[in-house]
């Protein structure tokens, strides 16, 4: 069974801290790994990773994939209260549907 596991499930830090969110996966037919931010209902796209060792960066957020060890990390530096959200990791499969298999999410809370 395809599985995506995120850790920690919940994290509370102070504004300005740096956080690292983890995502490990066990799937057949891996195509790519995606990170989404979910603040209320609609997950919004952050990154898509397909190759090992190549960091993707957007402002204070960055992410990297290790296809040998089957995990990815999402880093957020100089956190702000607006970063508070649930961060979802998902794996896209090489199948006709290209459906996403999601982890359970990490709830990040940034306190001022």
């Amino acid at each position: 069974e395809d599985k995506v596991v995120q850790s920690p499930l919940s994290l509370v830090v102070h504004e300005g801290d740096t956080v690292t969110l983890n995502c490990s996966y066990e799937v057949t037919n891996f195509r790519s790994l995606l990170w989404y931010k979910q603040e209320k209902k609609a997950p919004t796209f952050l990154f898509m990773l397909t190759s090992s060792g190549i960091e993707k960066k957007s402002g204070r957020l960055s992410s990297i994939l290790d296809k040998k060890e089957l995990f990815s990390i999402l880093n957020i530096t100089a956190t702000q209260t607006g970063d508070s959200a649930v961060y979802l990791c998902a794996v896209a499969l090489i199948q006709g549907a290209q459906k996403l298999v999601f982890g359970q999410g990490t709830r990040l809370t940034i306190n001022p």
Binding site: Y36, A42, A90, Q98, K99, L100, Q104, G105
Partner: protein
Amino acid sequence: GAGVSQTPSNKVTEKGKYVELRCDPISGHTALYWYRQSLGQGPEFLIYFQGTGAADDSGLPNDRFFAVRPEGSVSTLKIQRTERGDSAVYLCASSPRTVTYNEQFFGPGTRLTVL
């Protein structure tokens, strides 16, 4: 341009009733997905449409769940004889069809509560 829209945003129903949830994808997107997200969990795949046809319905939990997309645009998820365990946020996503994988754009979801 408009994103994915879903209606209603909230639906409260009684056990045993029938409900319909609507998704309007981004214009021109041929791929459409339904996911279900229970409290504290990540979204779970239900069904995928490519055009008008359901190309993969392996995630539908049982035969009370059915979805259509008759004209290849708007989709309706139908749940018969609702049960309390069906309570969740139902998310719809759309994606353009290309050879390589494209990100899925999500709608705001419909929160279904079955009393």
